[in-house]
Symmetry: C2
Subunit: 280 residues, 2 copies
C-alpha cells in the first residue's frame, strides 16, 4: 500500500498533512488529509474523528475553515478528512455539482458507469481507516461527523455500523435523501431508479428501525437555504422519537449552511465525540 505525502503544516503544536494513495476500493488515486494532535507525536495512539464533507468539497474545506485543530490539539484527537468522491480523468462525471465528482454521497454505486469507482461507503468504512491505523499512531476508537451530504454519510455509516463508531454528529445533514431532490437525483443514478434499495442510505429510515445505537448529535441552522427542501431535520427527529434513538438535535436561529456555522459550533461537536471516545 503506497502512500505519498503531499503537504505538511504545523498547526496548534500538531501537524496537518495531506496524502495521496491508490485506493483499491475506488480504483483510483485518492487524496485525504489528517490532523495529528501533539499527543500523537510521541507515538502514542490517539482516537480518531472521521469528517465527511459536503457537495463540491475536497479534503481541504474542513481543515482550512472549521477551526477544529485548536480543540483536537487540546483533546488529543486525530481528524481524518477524505475527499467526497473518486477522482481522476477516468472517473465518470456529470455536469451538475450534485452528481459525480465531488458528490459521491458515500454510497456503493451499483449502476454503470458509476459502479466502477463510486464505492465511497466501503472506502470510508473500511479501506481508509485500515490505511490510517496502519500508517499513523491512530487507534481504532472512531467517531464520525460531517456536513450536509457528509452529514448524511456520517449518519448512515454510524447507523449501519454501530460497532465501528463511538459517536456520530452532523451539521445540516441531508436527513431523508429518498425524499429530497439532491438525494433522489444521486440515489437514482448510483443505485438505480428502483427506490427499494435506497433505504440503506437514508438516515431517517435507518434511525426509525435502529436497535443498536450510537450517540448522535445534529446541529441545524434555521436560516439555512436548504432546510425544508433538502435537509428535513424534522423527519430525522420524528424517526428518533419513534424508535427512541439517542439523538440530540439543536436548532440555531440565524445560522446558514456555510462553514461560518460549522466553525461556530465545532468545539461542541469535538467535545461531544471526546466524551464518547474517552478523551476528556
Amino acid at each position: 500500500m503506497s502512500i505519498e505525502n503531499l503537504s505538511c503544516n504545523k498547526s496548534f503544536g500538531g501537524w496537518h498533512k495531506q496524502y495521496s494513495h491508490y485506493s483499491n476500493t475506488l480504483n483510483c488515486a485518492m487524496r485525504f488529509a489528517i490532523y495529528l494532535p501533539p499527543q500523537a507525536l510521541s507515538g502514542a495512539k490517539v482516537p480518531a474523528l472521521y469528517w465527511l464533507s459536503g457537495l463540491t468539497c475536497s479534503d481541504e474545506n474542513f481543515m482550512q475553515k472549521a477551526g477544529a485543530q485548536r480543540i483536537a490539539a487540546e483533546l488529543g484527537m486525530a481528524i481524518i478528512a477524505p475527499d467526497t468522491s473518486p477522482r481522476g480523468d477516468e472517473v465518470a462525471d456529470n455536469d451538475g455539482y450534485d452528481l459525480g465528482k465531488g458528490a459521491g454521497f458515500y454510497v456503493n454505486a451499483t449502476q454503470a458507469p458509476w459502479n466502477r469507482h463510486y464505492q465511497m461507503y466501503d472506502y470510508v468504512l473500511n479501506e481508509l481507516p485500515a490505511l490510517v491505523e496502519s500508517m499513523f499512531p491512530v487507534s481504532d476508537q472512531r467517531s464520525i461527523a460531517g456536513h450536509s451530504m457528509g452529514g448524511h454519510g456520517a449518519l448512515v455509516l454510524a447507523l449501519r455500523n454501530p460497532q465501528r463508531y463511538r459517536s456520530v454528529s452532523a451539521f445540516s445533514p441531508i436527513s431523508n435523501p429518498v425524499n429530497c431532490p439532491w438525494g433522489k437525483k444521486a440515489l437514482s443514478a448510483y443505485l438505480g431508479i428502483d427506490s427499494a434499495g435506497w433505504a440503506d442510505y437514508d438516515a431517517s429510515l435507518l434511525m426509525r428501525q435502529a436497535s443498536q445505537c450510537v450517540p448522535a448529535r445534529v446541529d441545524q441552522g434555521e436560516a439555512d437555504d436548504f432546510l425544508s427542501a433538502q435537509l428535513k431535520p424534522d423527519t430525522l427527529e420524528a424517526a428518533a422519537t419513534f424508535s427512541g434513538y439517542p439523538l440530540e438535535l439543536n436548532r440555531h436561529e440565524g445560522y446558514d449552511h456555510s462553514y461560518y456555522f460549522i466553525a461556530s459550533f465545532i468545539e461542541q461537536h469535538l467535545r461531544f465525540h471526546a466524551r464518547h471516545l474517552g478523551q476528556y
Copy 2:
C-alpha cells in the same frame, strides 16, 4: 457614498458581512468584509481591528481561515478585512502574482500606469475607516494587523501614523522590502526606480527612526520558506533594538507561511490588541 451588501453569515453570535462600495481613493469598486461581534448588535460602538492580507488574497482568506471570529466575539471587537489591491477590468495588472492585482503592497503609487488606482495606503488609512465608522457601530479606536505583504502594510501604517492606531501586529511580515525581491519589484514599479522614496514603506527603516511608538507584536514561523530571502525579521529586530522600539518578536519552530500558522496564534494577537484597545 453608496454601499452594497453582498453576503451575510451569522458567526459566533455576530455577523460576517461582505460589502461592495465605490472607492474615490482607488477609482474603482472595492469589496471588503467586516465581522461584527455580538456586542455590536445592540448598537454600542466596538473597537476595530483592521486586517491586511498577503499576496494573492482578497477579503475572504482571513475571514474563512484564521478562526478569529471566536475570539473577536468574546472580546467585543470588530474585524475589517479590505481587499489587497484595486480591482476591475480597467485596473492595471501584471502577469506575476507579486505585482498588480492582489499585490497592492499598501502603497500610494506614483508611477503610471499604477498611480491611477493603486493608492492602497490612503484607502486603508483614511477612506475605509471613515466608511466603516459612518456605517457600522464601530469606534475610532483602531488596531491593525496583517500577514506577509499585509504584515508589511500594517507595520508601515502604524509606524507612520501612531496617533491612528492603538497597537499593531503582524504574522511573517515583509519587514525590509527595500532589500528583498518582492519589495524591490513592487516598489520600483509603484514608486519608480529611484529607491530614495521607498524608505517611507519599509518597516525596518521606519522603526529605526521611530520616536512616537505603537505597541507592536510580530510572530514568525521558523520553517517559513520565505524567511531569509523575503521576510527578514532579524532586520526588523535590529531596528527595534537600535531605536528602543517596543517590539515583541516571537519565533515558532516548525511553523510555515500558511494560515495554519496564523490560526495557531491569532488568539494571542487578538488578546494583545484587546489589551491596548481597552477590551478585556
